[in-house]
Protein backbone atom coordinates (compact mmCIF):
# COMPACT_ATOMS: atom_id res chain seq x y z
CA UNK A 1 0.00 0.00 0.00
CA UNK A 2 2.77 2.40 0.93
CA UNK A 3 4.73 1.74 -2.23
CA UNK A 4 1.62 2.35 -4.30
CA UNK A 5 0.91 5.55 -2.40
CA UNK A 6 4.42 6.88 -2.99
CA UNK A 7 4.20 6.00 -6.64
CA UNK A 8 0.89 7.76 -7.11
CA UNK A 9 1.96 10.90 -5.35
CA UNK A 10 5.19 11.10 -7.28
CA UNK A 11 3.63 10.46 -10.70
CA UNK A 12 3.04 14.11 -11.55
CA UNK A 13 6.61 14.98 -10.52
CA UNK A 14 8.21 12.11 -12.43
CA UNK A 15 6.40 13.12 -15.56
CA UNK A 16 8.51 16.24 -16.13
CA UNK A 17 11.10 16.04 -13.36
CA UNK A 18 9.17 18.81 -11.59
CA UNK A 19 11.11 20.27 -8.65
CA UNK A 20 8.71 23.07 -7.68
CA UNK A 21 7.39 22.79 -4.12
CA UNK A 22 3.71 21.95 -3.49
CA UNK A 23 3.20 25.54 -2.40
CA UNK A 24 2.13 28.89 -3.81
CA UNK A 25 4.50 30.98 -5.90
CA UNK A 26 4.25 34.34 -7.68
CA UNK A 27 5.03 35.70 -11.10
CA UNK A 28 8.05 37.91 -10.44
CA UNK A 29 7.81 41.62 -11.28
CA UNK A 30 10.72 44.06 -11.08
CA UNK A 31 8.61 46.36 -8.86
CA UNK A 32 8.89 43.71 -6.13
CA UNK A 33 12.64 43.11 -6.32
CA UNK A 34 13.27 44.49 -2.83
CA UNK A 35 10.38 42.56 -1.28
CA UNK A 36 11.32 39.18 -2.69
CA UNK A 37 14.86 39.46 -1.37
CA UNK A 38 13.95 40.97 2.04
CA UNK A 39 11.15 38.49 2.83
CA UNK A 40 12.31 35.24 1.23
CA UNK A 41 10.08 32.98 3.37
CA UNK A 42 6.75 34.38 2.17
CA UNK A 43 6.60 32.73 -1.21
CA UNK A 44 7.55 29.18 -2.18
CA UNK A 45 8.85 29.80 -5.68
CA UNK A 46 9.07 32.34 -8.51
CA UNK A 47 7.90 32.20 -12.09
CA UNK A 48 9.45 34.40 -14.79
CA UNK A 49 8.87 34.93 -18.49
CA UNK A 50 12.19 33.87 -20.04
CA UNK A 51 11.72 36.38 -22.89
CA UNK A 52 12.14 39.23 -20.40
CA UNK A 53 15.64 37.97 -19.59
CA UNK A 54 16.81 37.38 -23.16
CA UNK A 55 19.25 40.29 -22.98
CA UNK A 56 23.03 40.28 -23.25
CA UNK A 57 23.83 41.69 -19.83
CA UNK A 58 22.85 44.26 -17.23
CA UNK A 59 20.68 44.32 -14.12
CA UNK A 60 17.90 42.00 -15.33
CA UNK A 61 20.21 39.01 -15.53
CA UNK A 62 21.78 39.97 -12.21
CA UNK A 63 18.32 39.95 -10.60
CA UNK A 64 17.45 36.63 -12.23
CA UNK A 65 20.66 35.07 -10.89
CA UNK A 66 19.77 36.41 -7.44
CA UNK A 67 16.24 34.99 -7.64
CA UNK A 68 17.61 31.61 -8.67
CA UNK A 69 19.86 31.57 -5.60
CA UNK A 70 16.92 32.11 -3.25
CA UNK A 71 13.91 30.50 -4.95
CA UNK A 72 13.03 27.51 -7.12
CA UNK A 73 12.45 29.06 -10.56
CA UNK A 74 9.80 28.26 -13.15
CA UNK A 75 10.49 29.47 -16.70
CA UNK A 76 7.10 30.23 -18.25
CA UNK A 77 7.59 30.93 -21.95
CA UNK A 78 5.20 32.99 -24.03
CA UNK A 79 6.87 32.95 -27.44
CA UNK A 80 7.62 29.39 -28.54
CA UNK A 81 4.37 29.34 -30.55
CA UNK A 82 3.63 25.64 -29.87
CA UNK A 83 0.69 25.58 -32.27
CA UNK A 84 2.41 27.63 -34.97
CA UNK A 85 2.53 26.46 -38.59
CA UNK A 86 6.31 26.72 -38.55
CA UNK A 87 8.62 24.89 -36.10
CA UNK A 88 9.81 26.86 -33.05
CA UNK A 89 12.38 29.50 -33.96
CA UNK A 90 15.83 27.96 -33.47
CA UNK A 91 17.46 31.20 -32.27
CA UNK A 92 14.73 31.56 -29.69
CA UNK A 93 15.21 27.96 -28.57
CA UNK A 94 18.94 28.60 -28.22
CA UNK A 95 18.30 31.60 -26.01
CA UNK A 96 15.83 29.51 -24.01
CA UNK A 97 18.46 26.79 -23.57
CA UNK A 98 21.00 29.37 -22.41
CA UNK A 99 18.58 30.50 -19.68
CA UNK A 100 17.81 26.90 -18.71
CA UNK A 101 21.55 26.30 -18.32
CA UNK A 102 21.91 29.55 -16.39
CA UNK A 103 19.17 29.13 -13.74
CA UNK A 104 18.53 25.34 -13.79
CA UNK A 105 14.77 25.91 -13.51
CA UNK A 106 12.61 23.63 -11.37
CA UNK A 107 10.01 23.68 -14.15
CA UNK A 108 9.52 24.93 -17.75
CA UNK A 109 6.16 25.68 -19.34
CA UNK A 110 4.52 27.11 -22.47
CA UNK A 111 1.05 27.75 -23.90
CA UNK A 112 -1.35 25.94 -26.19
CA UNK A 113 -1.36 28.85 -28.65
CA UNK A 114 0.52 30.34 -31.58
CA UNK A 115 2.21 33.70 -31.66
CA UNK A 116 4.19 33.96 -34.86
CA UNK A 117 3.33 33.78 -38.51
CA UNK A 118 5.04 34.87 -41.70
CA UNK A 119 8.00 36.39 -39.85
CA UNK A 120 5.88 38.53 -37.53
CA UNK A 121 5.84 37.91 -33.77
CA UNK A 122 2.43 38.88 -32.40
CA UNK A 123 3.40 39.16 -28.74
CA UNK A 124 0.05 37.58 -27.92
CA UNK A 125 -1.37 34.07 -27.52
CA UNK A 126 -3.55 33.46 -30.57
CA UNK A 127 -6.25 30.76 -30.62
CA UNK A 128 -5.88 27.20 -31.93
CA UNK A 129 -8.37 25.05 -33.80
CA UNK A 130 -9.15 21.79 -32.00
CA UNK A 131 -8.25 19.53 -34.92
CA UNK A 132 -6.10 16.45 -35.49
CA UNK A 133 -3.81 18.61 -37.64
CA UNK A 134 -3.30 21.02 -34.73
CA UNK A 135 -2.60 18.12 -32.37
CA UNK A 136 0.04 16.72 -34.78
CA UNK A 137 1.68 20.14 -35.05
CA UNK A 138 1.77 20.73 -31.31
CA UNK A 139 3.05 17.17 -30.68
CA UNK A 140 5.91 17.75 -33.12
CA UNK A 141 6.75 21.18 -31.70
CA UNK A 142 6.66 19.99 -28.08
CA UNK A 143 8.89 17.04 -29.01
CA UNK A 144 11.35 19.37 -30.76
CA UNK A 145 11.47 21.66 -27.74
CA UNK A 146 11.80 18.82 -25.23
CA UNK A 147 14.55 17.19 -27.30
CA UNK A 148 16.40 20.48 -27.64
CA UNK A 149 16.15 21.46 -23.98
CA UNK A 150 16.68 17.91 -22.74
CA UNK A 151 13.72 18.47 -20.41
CA UNK A 152 10.01 17.80 -20.44
CA UNK A 153 7.71 20.81 -20.26
CA UNK A 154 4.20 21.69 -19.11
CA UNK A 155 1.62 23.02 -21.58
CA UNK A 156 -1.02 25.51 -20.42
CA UNK A 157 -4.70 25.60 -21.42
CA UNK A 158 -5.75 28.86 -23.13
CA UNK A 159 -8.38 31.53 -22.38
CA UNK A 160 -10.96 31.32 -25.15
CA UNK A 161 -12.90 34.31 -26.47
CA UNK A 162 -14.49 32.68 -29.49
CA UNK A 163 -15.09 29.28 -31.06
CA UNK A 164 -13.04 28.44 -34.13
CA UNK A 165 -14.86 26.26 -36.68
CA UNK A 166 -14.02 22.67 -37.58
CA UNK A 167 -13.38 21.25 -34.08
CA UNK A 168 -12.66 17.51 -34.15
CA UNK A 169 -12.11 17.10 -30.41
CA UNK A 170 -12.54 18.97 -27.15
CA UNK A 171 -9.78 21.04 -25.57
CA UNK A 172 -9.32 18.53 -22.74
CA UNK A 173 -9.04 15.69 -25.29
CA UNK A 174 -6.38 17.60 -27.18
CA UNK A 175 -4.40 18.36 -24.02
CA UNK A 176 -4.60 14.78 -22.73
CA UNK A 177 -3.56 13.30 -26.08
CA UNK A 178 -0.71 15.80 -26.29
CA UNK A 179 0.51 14.71 -22.85
CA UNK A 180 0.17 11.02 -23.71
CA UNK A 181 2.06 11.42 -26.99
CA UNK A 182 4.91 13.67 -25.82
CA UNK A 183 5.27 12.88 -22.12
CA UNK A 184 4.71 16.57 -21.37
CA UNK A 185 2.64 17.60 -18.37
CA UNK A 186 -0.18 20.12 -18.07
CA UNK A 187 -0.21 23.54 -16.50
CA UNK A 188 -3.84 24.12 -15.60
CA UNK A 189 -4.84 27.77 -15.47
CA UNK A 190 -8.05 27.74 -13.45
CA UNK A 191 -8.80 31.38 -14.30
CA UNK A 192 -8.50 30.55 -18.02
CA UNK A 193 -11.02 27.73 -17.58
CA UNK A 194 -13.50 30.03 -15.84
CA UNK A 195 -13.01 32.68 -18.54
CA UNK A 196 -13.44 30.16 -21.38
CA UNK A 197 -16.52 28.57 -19.82
CA UNK A 198 -18.05 32.03 -19.34
CA UNK A 199 -17.20 33.22 -22.85
CA UNK A 200 -17.86 30.17 -25.01
CA UNK A 201 -19.16 27.42 -22.70
CA UNK A 202 -22.31 25.44 -23.43
CA UNK A 203 -25.08 27.55 -21.86
CA UNK A 204 -27.31 24.46 -21.59
CA UNK A 205 -24.97 22.94 -18.99
CA UNK A 206 -25.12 24.73 -15.62
CA UNK A 207 -23.23 27.95 -15.00
CA UNK A 208 -19.59 28.74 -15.82
CA UNK A 209 -18.41 27.35 -12.49
CA UNK A 210 -20.29 24.07 -12.98
CA UNK A 211 -18.87 23.76 -16.49
CA UNK A 212 -15.44 24.58 -15.11
CA UNK A 213 -15.72 21.76 -12.55
CA UNK A 214 -16.65 19.34 -15.34
CA UNK A 215 -13.62 20.47 -17.39
CA UNK A 216 -11.33 19.94 -14.39
CA UNK A 217 -12.82 16.52 -13.60
CA UNK A 218 -11.82 15.29 -17.07
CA UNK A 219 -8.12 15.87 -16.40
CA UNK A 220 -6.07 13.01 -14.91
CA UNK A 221 -4.35 14.38 -11.81
CA UNK A 222 -0.99 12.82 -12.61
CA UNK A 223 -0.76 14.97 -15.77
CA UNK A 224 -1.08 18.22 -13.81
CA UNK A 225 2.24 19.66 -12.71
CA UNK A 226 1.30 23.26 -11.94
CA UNK A 227 -1.72 25.51 -11.46
CA UNK A 228 -2.16 29.17 -12.38
CA UNK A 229 -4.46 31.61 -10.58
CA UNK A 230 -5.07 35.14 -11.82
CA UNK A 231 -7.66 37.86 -12.08
CA UNK A 232 -9.73 38.86 -15.10
CA UNK A 233 -11.76 41.86 -16.21
CA UNK A 234 -15.15 42.37 -17.80
CA UNK A 235 -15.30 43.36 -21.48
CA UNK A 236 -16.52 46.96 -21.79
CA UNK A 237 -18.77 46.14 -24.78
CA UNK A 238 -20.31 42.83 -23.78
CA UNK A 239 -20.20 43.03 -19.99
CA UNK A 240 -20.18 39.84 -17.94
CA UNK A 241 -20.74 37.61 -20.99
CA UNK A 242 -17.16 38.21 -22.09
CA UNK A 243 -14.33 38.04 -19.55
CA UNK A 244 -10.85 39.23 -20.51
CA UNK A 245 -7.76 37.44 -19.19
CA UNK A 246 -5.83 40.56 -18.20
CA UNK A 247 -4.09 39.32 -15.01
CA UNK A 248 -4.89 42.73 -13.59
CA UNK A 249 -7.18 42.02 -10.61
CA UNK A 250 -7.42 39.79 -7.53
CA UNK A 251 -8.33 36.14 -8.15
CA UNK A 252 -12.15 36.03 -8.43
CA UNK A 253 -14.21 33.98 -5.95
CA UNK A 254 -15.50 31.45 -8.52
CA UNK A 255 -11.88 30.86 -9.58
CA UNK A 256 -10.85 30.18 -5.97
CA UNK A 257 -13.81 27.77 -5.86
CA UNK A 258 -12.58 25.89 -8.94
CA UNK A 259 -9.05 25.81 -7.51
CA UNK A 260 -10.27 24.21 -4.29
CA UNK A 261 -12.41 21.74 -6.26
CA UNK A 262 -9.34 20.63 -8.22
CA UNK A 263 -6.96 20.45 -5.26
CA UNK A 264 -9.49 18.48 -3.19
CA UNK A 265 -9.43 15.83 -5.93
CA UNK A 266 -5.78 15.67 -6.99
CA UNK A 267 -3.93 16.94 -3.89
CA UNK A 268 -1.59 19.93 -3.61
CA UNK A 269 0.34 21.25 -6.59
CA UNK A 270 2.71 24.17 -7.18
CA UNK A 271 0.22 27.03 -7.63
CA UNK A 272 0.99 30.45 -9.05
CA UNK A 273 -0.49 33.88 -8.33
CA UNK A 274 -0.11 35.81 -11.59
CA UNK A 275 -0.41 39.60 -12.05
CA UNK A 276 0.76 41.31 -15.23
CA UNK A 277 -1.34 44.51 -15.24
CA UNK A 278 -2.26 46.98 -12.46
CA UNK A 279 0.52 45.29 -10.50
CA UNK A 280 -0.30 45.68 -6.80
CA UNK A 281 1.80 46.20 -3.70
CA UNK A 282 3.71 43.15 -2.53
CA UNK A 283 1.40 42.73 0.48
CA UNK A 284 -1.59 42.14 -1.84
CA UNK A 285 0.34 39.44 -3.68
CA UNK A 286 1.54 37.92 -0.42
CA UNK A 287 -2.09 37.85 0.78
CA UNK A 288 -3.18 35.85 -2.28
CA UNK A 289 -0.20 33.55 -1.84
CA UNK A 290 -1.26 32.92 1.77
CA UNK A 291 -4.81 32.17 0.60
CA UNK A 292 -3.58 29.65 -1.98
CA UNK A 293 -1.22 28.06 0.57
CA UNK A 294 -4.09 27.71 3.00
CA UNK A 295 -6.11 25.76 0.40
CA UNK A 296 -3.09 23.60 -0.43
CA UNK A 297 -2.50 22.84 3.26
CA UNK A 298 -6.14 22.00 3.86
CA UNK A 299 -5.93 19.32 1.17
CA UNK A 300 -2.43 18.20 2.04
CA UNK A 301 -3.56 14.60 2.19
CA UNK A 302 -6.09 14.69 -0.62
CA UNK A 303 -5.59 12.87 -3.87
CA UNK A 304 -4.48 9.37 -4.77
CA UNK A 305 -2.51 8.75 -1.58
CA UNK A 306 -5.63 8.94 0.57
CA UNK A 307 -7.73 6.91 -1.83
CA UNK A 308 -4.98 4.29 -1.81
CA UNK A 309 -4.68 4.33 2.01
CA UNK A 310 -8.40 3.70 2.38
Amino acid sequence: MNACETHDRAAWRDRTGNRLPEAAGVGFKFQHTENVFSTPGQVGWMEVHPETYMVEGGPRLRILDGLAEVYPISLHGVALSLAGETPPDLDHLKRMKALVDRVDPAQISEHLAWSDHGGVYFADLLPVRLTRATLERVVQNVERIQDYLGRRILVENPSNYLVLPGAEMTETELLIRLAERTGCGLLIDVNNIYISETNVGDRDVGDAQERGRRYLDLLPGELIGEIHLAGHSVDPAEGRDLLIDDHGAPVADPVWGLFEHLIARIGPRPSLIEWDNNIPEWTTLAGEVAHADEVLRRHRFAGPSVEAAQ
Binding site: M54, G57, G58, W114, H117, G119, V120, A123, L162, D235
Partner: protein, 266 residues
Protein backbone atom coordinates in the same frame (compact mmCIF):
# COMPACT_ATOMS: atom_id res chain seq x y z
CA UNK B 1 5.46 42.74 -44.70
CA UNK B 2 4.24 39.15 -44.32
CA UNK B 3 4.12 36.11 -46.54
CA UNK B 4 1.18 34.02 -45.38
CA UNK B 5 0.07 31.00 -47.31
CA UNK B 6 -3.32 31.83 -48.85
CA UNK B 7 -6.24 30.11 -47.20
CA UNK B 8 -4.39 29.24 -43.99
CA UNK B 9 -6.44 29.74 -40.86
CA UNK B 10 -3.49 31.26 -39.03
CA UNK B 11 -2.68 33.46 -42.03
CA UNK B 12 -6.20 34.84 -42.11
CA UNK B 13 -6.11 35.58 -38.39
CA UNK B 14 -2.61 37.06 -38.64
CA UNK B 15 -3.72 39.49 -41.35
CA UNK B 16 -6.87 40.49 -39.48
CA UNK B 17 -5.16 40.98 -36.12
CA UNK B 18 -2.69 43.46 -37.63
CA UNK B 19 -5.13 45.25 -39.90
CA UNK B 20 -5.71 48.97 -39.38
CA UNK B 21 -9.42 48.23 -39.87
CA UNK B 22 -10.83 47.95 -36.35
CA UNK B 23 -13.53 45.51 -37.40
CA UNK B 24 -11.25 43.22 -39.40
CA UNK B 25 -11.84 39.47 -38.87
CA UNK B 26 -11.29 36.37 -41.01
CA UNK B 27 -14.12 35.90 -43.52
CA UNK B 28 -14.90 32.38 -42.28
CA UNK B 29 -15.78 33.56 -38.78
CA UNK B 30 -19.42 33.76 -37.71
CA UNK B 31 -20.68 37.22 -36.74
CA UNK B 32 -20.32 36.78 -32.97
CA UNK B 33 -16.77 35.42 -33.24
CA UNK B 34 -15.83 38.14 -35.71
CA UNK B 35 -17.04 40.75 -33.21
CA UNK B 36 -15.06 39.10 -30.44
CA UNK B 37 -11.93 38.83 -32.57
CA UNK B 38 -11.29 42.44 -31.47
CA UNK B 39 -10.09 41.04 -28.12
CA UNK B 40 -6.96 39.71 -29.83
CA UNK B 41 -6.48 42.95 -31.75
CA UNK B 42 -6.81 44.92 -28.52
CA UNK B 43 -4.52 42.61 -26.53
CA UNK B 44 -1.80 42.87 -29.16
CA UNK B 45 -2.02 46.65 -29.43
CA UNK B 46 -2.40 47.21 -25.71
CA UNK B 47 0.57 44.97 -24.94
CA UNK B 48 2.92 46.47 -27.51
CA UNK B 49 1.81 50.07 -26.87
CA UNK B 50 2.48 49.41 -23.17
CA UNK B 51 6.01 48.27 -23.99
CA UNK B 52 6.57 51.47 -26.00
CA UNK B 53 5.15 53.60 -23.18
CA UNK B 54 7.55 51.92 -20.73
CA UNK B 55 10.47 52.37 -23.12
CA UNK B 56 9.77 56.00 -24.09
CA UNK B 57 8.30 57.71 -20.99
CA UNK B 58 9.72 61.16 -21.79
CA UNK B 59 8.43 61.10 -25.37
CA UNK B 60 5.05 60.13 -23.95
CA UNK B 61 5.15 63.00 -21.47
CA UNK B 62 6.12 65.48 -24.18
CA UNK B 63 3.27 64.60 -26.54
CA UNK B 64 0.67 63.45 -24.01
CA UNK B 65 -0.80 59.99 -23.45
CA UNK B 66 -3.47 60.28 -26.12
CA UNK B 67 -1.12 61.35 -28.90
CA UNK B 68 1.43 58.75 -27.82
CA UNK B 69 -1.12 55.93 -27.96
CA UNK B 70 -2.25 56.99 -31.43
CA UNK B 71 1.37 57.09 -32.65
CA UNK B 72 2.10 53.73 -30.99
CA UNK B 73 -0.91 52.14 -32.70
CA UNK B 74 0.30 53.28 -36.13
CA UNK B 75 3.85 52.13 -35.33
CA UNK B 76 2.65 48.68 -34.22
CA UNK B 77 0.66 48.23 -37.44
CA UNK B 78 3.54 49.36 -39.67
CA UNK B 79 6.36 47.73 -37.72
CA UNK B 80 5.05 44.68 -35.85
CA UNK B 81 7.80 42.90 -33.91
CA UNK B 82 9.87 40.34 -35.77
CA UNK B 83 11.82 39.46 -32.68
CA UNK B 84 10.56 37.44 -29.73
CA UNK B 85 12.92 39.34 -27.43
CA UNK B 86 10.57 42.18 -26.64
CA UNK B 87 13.30 44.08 -24.76
CA UNK B 88 14.42 44.96 -28.30
CA UNK B 89 10.98 46.13 -29.47
CA UNK B 90 10.79 49.79 -30.47
CA UNK B 91 14.23 50.05 -32.06
CA UNK B 92 12.66 51.77 -35.07
CA UNK B 93 10.42 54.10 -33.04
CA UNK B 94 12.76 57.16 -33.16
CA UNK B 95 12.98 56.98 -36.99
CA UNK B 96 9.23 56.45 -37.14
CA UNK B 97 8.67 59.61 -35.08
CA UNK B 98 11.02 61.58 -37.41
CA UNK B 99 8.69 60.90 -40.30
CA UNK B 100 5.39 60.80 -38.40
CA UNK B 101 3.50 63.71 -39.92
CA UNK B 102 1.38 64.62 -36.85
CA UNK B 103 4.61 64.99 -34.81
CA UNK B 104 6.16 67.52 -37.23
CA UNK B 105 5.63 70.40 -34.78
CA UNK B 106 7.93 68.68 -32.25
CA UNK B 107 11.17 68.45 -34.25
CA UNK B 108 13.26 67.18 -31.32
CA UNK B 109 10.92 64.25 -30.56
CA UNK B 110 12.92 61.72 -32.58
CA UNK B 111 16.16 62.61 -30.81
CA UNK B 112 14.56 62.43 -27.35
CA UNK B 113 13.36 58.96 -28.39
CA UNK B 114 16.92 58.14 -29.53
CA UNK B 115 18.22 59.10 -26.10
CA UNK B 116 15.63 56.93 -24.35
CA UNK B 117 16.38 54.08 -26.73
CA UNK B 118 20.15 54.43 -26.19
CA UNK B 119 19.64 54.18 -22.43
CA UNK B 120 17.71 50.91 -22.90
CA UNK B 121 20.36 49.51 -25.25
CA UNK B 122 23.02 50.43 -22.71
CA UNK B 123 21.02 48.78 -19.92
CA UNK B 124 20.71 45.43 -21.73
CA UNK B 125 24.11 45.40 -23.50
CA UNK B 126 26.75 42.81 -22.66
CA UNK B 127 28.54 43.31 -19.35
CA UNK B 128 32.23 44.22 -19.49
CA UNK B 129 34.79 45.77 -17.17
CA UNK B 130 35.61 49.32 -18.36
CA UNK B 131 39.18 50.13 -19.40
CA UNK B 132 41.38 50.56 -16.34
CA UNK B 133 42.94 54.07 -16.21
CA UNK B 134 46.16 52.46 -14.97
CA UNK B 135 46.69 50.67 -18.30
CA UNK B 136 46.25 54.02 -20.06
CA UNK B 137 48.79 55.77 -17.78
CA UNK B 138 51.19 52.91 -18.50
CA UNK B 139 51.19 53.92 -22.16
CA UNK B 140 52.96 57.22 -21.34
CA UNK B 141 53.74 59.18 -24.50
CA UNK B 142 52.42 56.37 -26.70
CA UNK B 143 48.85 57.31 -25.69
CA UNK B 144 48.65 59.69 -28.67
CA UNK B 145 48.73 56.79 -31.14
CA UNK B 146 46.52 54.51 -29.00
CA UNK B 147 43.18 53.28 -30.30
CA UNK B 148 40.37 52.15 -28.05
CA UNK B 149 37.70 49.44 -28.05
CA UNK B 150 34.26 50.89 -27.24
CA UNK B 151 32.49 49.45 -24.19
CA UNK B 152 29.50 47.33 -25.34
CA UNK B 153 27.10 49.58 -23.41
CA UNK B 154 28.52 52.88 -24.74
CA UNK B 155 26.36 55.03 -27.02
CA UNK B 156 26.89 58.57 -28.33
CA UNK B 157 24.06 60.83 -29.45
CA UNK B 158 24.82 64.11 -31.25
CA UNK B 159 21.69 66.14 -31.72
CA UNK B 160 20.88 69.51 -33.35
CA UNK B 161 18.42 69.95 -30.43
CA UNK B 162 18.96 70.45 -26.66
CA UNK B 163 18.06 66.79 -26.26
CA UNK B 164 19.63 66.16 -22.86
CA UNK B 165 18.13 69.32 -21.31
CA UNK B 166 14.70 68.32 -22.56
CA UNK B 167 15.10 64.77 -21.29
CA UNK B 168 16.38 65.86 -17.88
CA UNK B 169 13.61 68.42 -17.42
CA UNK B 170 10.94 65.81 -18.20
CA UNK B 171 12.26 62.57 -16.81
CA UNK B 172 11.01 63.31 -13.30
CA UNK B 173 8.86 66.41 -13.80
CA UNK B 174 5.16 66.41 -13.02
CA UNK B 175 4.22 68.37 -16.12
CA UNK B 176 5.83 68.35 -19.55
CA UNK B 177 8.36 71.11 -20.07
CA UNK B 178 9.87 72.03 -23.40
CA UNK B 179 10.88 75.70 -23.02
CA UNK B 180 14.52 75.45 -24.10
CA UNK B 181 16.88 77.42 -26.19
CA UNK B 182 17.48 75.49 -29.38
CA UNK B 183 21.18 74.79 -28.86
CA UNK B 184 22.60 71.50 -30.10
CA UNK B 185 23.59 68.99 -27.44
CA UNK B 186 25.57 65.77 -27.44
CA UNK B 187 25.16 62.99 -24.91
CA UNK B 188 27.39 60.11 -23.91
CA UNK B 189 25.47 57.12 -22.57
CA UNK B 190 27.36 54.44 -20.64
CA UNK B 191 26.77 51.60 -18.22
CA UNK B 192 30.09 50.73 -16.60
CA UNK B 193 28.48 48.43 -14.00
CA UNK B 194 24.70 48.23 -13.42
CA UNK B 195 23.54 51.84 -13.66
CA UNK B 196 23.19 53.82 -16.87
CA UNK B 197 24.98 57.19 -16.89
CA UNK B 198 24.32 60.12 -19.21
CA UNK B 199 26.94 62.84 -19.62
CA UNK B 200 26.65 66.07 -21.60
CA UNK B 201 29.50 66.65 -24.07
CA UNK B 202 30.43 69.86 -25.85
CA UNK B 203 30.45 69.79 -29.65
CA UNK B 204 34.23 69.36 -29.76
CA UNK B 205 34.20 66.74 -26.97
CA UNK B 206 31.53 64.83 -28.88
CA UNK B 207 33.54 64.94 -32.12
CA UNK B 208 36.56 63.66 -30.18
CA UNK B 209 34.49 60.89 -28.56
CA UNK B 210 32.91 59.95 -31.89
CA UNK B 211 36.31 59.62 -33.54
CA UNK B 212 37.76 57.52 -30.69
CA UNK B 213 34.69 55.26 -30.58
CA UNK B 214 35.05 54.70 -34.32
CA UNK B 215 38.63 53.53 -33.85
CA UNK B 216 40.64 56.65 -34.69
CA UNK B 217 43.81 57.22 -32.70
CA UNK B 218 43.85 59.79 -29.90
CA UNK B 219 46.00 62.01 -32.10
CA UNK B 220 43.57 61.83 -35.05
CA UNK B 221 40.59 62.41 -32.78
CA UNK B 222 42.33 65.45 -31.28
CA UNK B 223 42.84 66.89 -34.77
CA UNK B 224 39.13 66.53 -35.55
CA UNK B 225 38.13 68.21 -32.27
CA UNK B 226 40.63 71.10 -32.54
CA UNK B 227 39.25 71.91 -36.00
CA UNK B 228 35.90 72.56 -34.29
CA UNK B 229 37.26 74.33 -31.23
CA UNK B 230 40.82 75.74 -31.10
CA UNK B 231 40.63 75.72 -27.29
CA UNK B 232 39.78 71.99 -27.15
CA UNK B 233 41.41 70.27 -24.14
CA UNK B 234 42.13 66.65 -25.11
CA UNK B 235 43.23 65.46 -21.66
CA UNK B 236 40.09 66.73 -19.94
CA UNK B 237 37.84 65.31 -22.68
CA UNK B 238 39.67 61.98 -22.58
CA UNK B 239 39.37 61.82 -18.78
CA UNK B 240 35.58 62.29 -19.06
CA UNK B 241 35.32 59.38 -21.49
CA UNK B 242 37.56 57.15 -19.39
CA UNK B 243 35.76 57.95 -16.12
CA UNK B 244 32.36 57.34 -17.74
CA UNK B 245 33.36 53.86 -18.87
CA UNK B 246 33.20 54.56 -22.61
CA UNK B 247 35.94 52.05 -23.43
CA UNK B 248 36.45 48.40 -22.78
CA UNK B 249 40.10 48.20 -23.75
CA UNK B 250 42.96 49.15 -26.02
CA UNK B 251 43.24 47.99 -29.60
CA UNK B 252 46.51 46.63 -30.78
CA UNK B 253 47.72 47.68 -34.23
CA UNK B 254 46.75 44.47 -36.03
CA UNK B 255 43.15 44.39 -34.82
CA UNK B 256 42.75 48.03 -35.72
CA UNK B 257 43.85 47.42 -39.30
CA UNK B 258 41.30 44.62 -39.68
CA UNK B 259 38.57 46.82 -38.25
CA UNK B 260 39.37 49.81 -40.41
CA UNK B 261 39.15 47.64 -43.53
CA UNK B 262 35.68 46.44 -42.54
CA UNK B 263 34.64 49.97 -41.71
CA UNK B 264 35.82 51.52 -44.99
CA UNK B 265 32.96 49.96 -46.92
CA UNK B 266 30.24 51.40 -44.74
Amino acid sequence: MTTQAPGSFEGDMARAVLSADRTAAPGWMDAESAFRFRVYRNNLRHGLAGLLADAFPVVRRLVGAEFFEAAAAVFVERHPPEDRMLAAFGGGFPEFLDSFEPARSVPYLGDVARLERARIEALHAADAAPLDPVSVSALGERVVSARFVPHPACRLLRSPHPVLSIWQANVRAEAASSAFRGEPEAVLITRPVLEVHVVALSEADAAFADALLQGHSADEANGIAVALDPCFEPMRAFRTLLDSGAFRGLQNASTFQTKSKQGSGS
